[in-house]
C-alpha cells in the first residue's frame, strides 16, 4: 500500500469522525439555550464534514464502503431530523424527534412485542407461507395443463393489477376479527404475484436444455427437479421478496377494518387518533425493521441458493 492509498482511505474516515463529533456537540448545545450561534457553527461544520466523507466513501469500492456510505447518510438524515425538531421546537403531534421515538420504543417494549406477535407471527408468517406455497403449487399445475394455462393465467394477470387490499373488509367479515382474517388477506395478496412469477420462471428453461434432458431420457419430475426448478428460482425469489412487503401491508391494512385490541395496524390507527405519535412512530419502526429484516433474510437466501445467476457474478 502506497502512502497515497493510505491517505486516500484515511481522509474520508477523518472527515466522518470530525463530522460526528461536531454533530454531537451541536446536539448537546441545544440543551442550554445560550449558544445558538455556536450550535449553528457546529452544525454547519458537521454537515459539511459528513458530506465530504460521503463523497470520499462513494469514490471507493469494497463491501465495507458499500455499507458505510448509506449508513452514514442515514445517520445524517436522522441527525438533521433530530436537530430540526428539537431546535425549532416542532410540536410533538406533528413530528416527534428520533430521541423521543427511541424513548417510546424502550418504555412500550411489551406492548410493541405483543403487537408484533399478533400481526407478524400469527398473521403474516402463516399467510405468507400458505399464499406463496399455494401460488407455487398452482403454477406447477398450470404448467402441466394447457387448459388451466389458458384459463387461470389471464385471470391471474388480471387480479395481480387489481387493488387487492380491498378484499380486507370481506375477509374480516368471513373469518372474524382475530388473526385468521388477516392471514387470509395475506394469503390472497401473496398468491397472485407468486403464481405469475413462478409460471414465467417455469417457462424460462430453453428448448435446447429441454431437448438435452429428453436425450438423457429424463422424465417429467427429473426435468423439473434438475433443470426447470433451478432455472425458475430467480423468478420465485423475486416473488418472495415482493411478497414479503405485500404481506406486511396486507395484515396491517386488514387490521384497520376490525381487530382485537392488539396488532400493529390497530396500534397505529388508535394511537394516531389519540395523538400519541411517539408510540405510532415506534410501531412504524418495528414494522420497518420487520420488513427490512425479512427482505434481507430472503435476499441472503437467494444469494446462497442462486449463486450462479449473472446478477450475482463478480
Amino acid at each position: 500500500m502506497t502512502a497515497r492509498a493510505v491517505w486516500g482511505a484515511a481522509w474520508p474516515v477523518a472527515f466522518a469522525a470530525l463530522g460526528m463529533i461536531a454533530a454531537a456537540l451541536a446536539r448537546a448545545g441545544l440543551a442550554d439555550a445560550a449558544g445558538s450561534a455556536r450550535v449553528l457553527a457546529a452544525s454547519a461544520i458537521g454537515v459539511l464534514a459528513v458530506i465530504a466523507a460521503l463523497a470520499g466513501f462513494a469514490r471507493r469500492d469494497g463491501p465495507v464502503m458499500r455499507l458505510a456510505t448509506p449508513a452514514l447518510f442515514g445517520a445524517l438524515i436522522l441527525w438533521l431530523w433530530e436537530m430540526v425538531v428539537v431546535g425549532l421546537q416542532v410540536p410533538r403531534v406533528l413530528l416527534p424527534a428520533p430521541s423521543a421515538i427511541a424513548a417510546a420504543f424502550s418504555t412500550h417494549l411489551p406492548t410493541l412485542g405483543a403487537d408484533f406477535r399478533q400481526t407478524f407471527v400469527r398473521a403474516v408468517i402463516p399467510g405468507y407461507l400458505l399464499g406463496c406455497g399455494a401460488g407455487f403449487a398452482v403454477a406447477l399445475a398450470i404448467d402441466r395443463s394447457p387448459f388451466l394455462r389458458r384459463g387461470l393465467l389471464p385471470l391471474g394477470n388480471l387480479v395481480s393489477v387489481m387493488p387487492i387490499v380491498g378484499i380486507a373488509p370481506i375477509m374480516v367479515m368471513w373469518f372474524g376479527f382475530d388473526w385468521q382474517s388477516k392471514a387470509a388477506v395475506v394469503v390472497v395478496m401473496t398468491f397472485f404475484p407468486m403464481l405469475v412469477n413462478a409460471v414465467a420462471g417455469l417457462a424460462e428453461a430453453g428448448v435446447m436444455e429441454r431437448d438435452l434432458m429428453r436425450s438423457y431420457a429424463a422424465g417429467y419430475w427429473q426435468t423439473l427437479m434438475k433443470l426447470r426448478l433451478p432455472v425458475a428460482l430467480p423468478f420465485v425469489f423475486n416473488a418472495l421478496k415482493l411478497n414479503s412487503t405485500l404481506a406486511l401491508i396486507g395484515a396491517v391494512v386488514a387490521e384497520f377494518f376490525g381487530t382485537p385490541i392488539l396488532g400493529m395496524g390497530f396500534r397505529i390507527s388508535t394511537e394516531a387518533a389519540r395523538m400519541d405519535l411517539d408510540l405510532v412512530w415506534a410501531t412504524i419502526t418495528v414494522a420497518a425493521l420487520a420488513g427490512s429484516l425479512s427482505f434481507g433474510a430472503i435476499a441472503l437466501i437467494e444469494r446462497t441458493v442462486t449463486f450462479w445467476h449473472p446478477s450475482f457474478r463478480r
Binding site: 380491498g166 412487503t245 396491517v252
Partner: protein
Amino acid sequence: MLSVLSAVLLVWYIAAIALNAPQVRERLPLEAGLRDLVAGTWSMERPVLPAPHQIVAELRKSILGHPVASQRSLVYHAGVTLSAALAGLALALLLGMTLAIGIVHVRTLDRSLMPWVIASQTVPVLAIAPMVVVVLGNLGITGLFPKAAIAGYLSFFPITVGMVKGLRSPDPLQLDLMRTYSAAGWQVFAKLRWPASLPFLFPGLRVAVALALVGAIVAELPTGAQAGLGARLLGGSYYGQTVQIWATLIVASTLSLAALFVVGLVERGVTVLRGGRM
C-alpha cells in the same frame, strides 16, 4: 376466455349457495324445498357472498340510479379516489424523476441514497397512511393533498427504479459519440439519456398507476368515511353491506384497468411520435 369467464361465474354461483345456505336455512320454513333454498341464497340482503347478479344490480343502482354529483353515486366516489390517485401519480413522477436524475449524475447520491430508496419499499408504507392523514388534518390540511401524498409515496419507487435503469441504458459507444461532439452534460441528458430512458419509464409507470390507486383507497380509510372508494369500503364493512363492498371492489378494479389502458395508449403515442413502431 369466454369459457373461463363462464366457469368463474358458475363456481361463484355455487360458492354463493354453499356459503349463504346456513343463514338462509335458519329463516326458511321447514317445508321449503331445494328450489326455495337456492333462490334464497341468491337474493339475500346481506349475503356472506353475494351472487354476481346482485352485484350487477347494485352497480346499476349506484352508478345509474343517482345523479353523478350525489353522495350516493359510485361515480362520485370513484372520481374522488381517482383525482387523489392522479395527483399522487403526478407527485410520484416529479419525485421519481428528480431522484433518478440525481442518482444517475451524482455518484455520492447513487451510493448513499439508492439503498434507502430500496429500503423505503420494505417498510409497510400503507401503515403510515392513517397517521399522515390525521397529522395533516390537525394542521388544517385536508382533502386531496394527504391522500395524494400517500399515493405518491407508494408509487414513486417503480418510477425511480425504471428511470435509473433507463438513464443508464445508453451504451459507452453512444456516450463516446456524444463526447466527440463535445456535448455538454445537459446536452447528453436531453439528447441521449432522456430519450433512451422513456421505454424503461413505462413499465414502471404501469406498476405505479396500480399502486397509486391502492394508496388513494387506503388513505381514505381513516378519514372517517366521508368520500371515496375507501370510504365506501369502510362504510360497507361497518354496516355489513357486502353487496356494496363487492360493487366498490369491481369499480376499483375497473378504474385500475382503465388507468393501465390509458398508460398503454400514451406509451403507444410516445413510441410512434419518436419514430418507433408498435
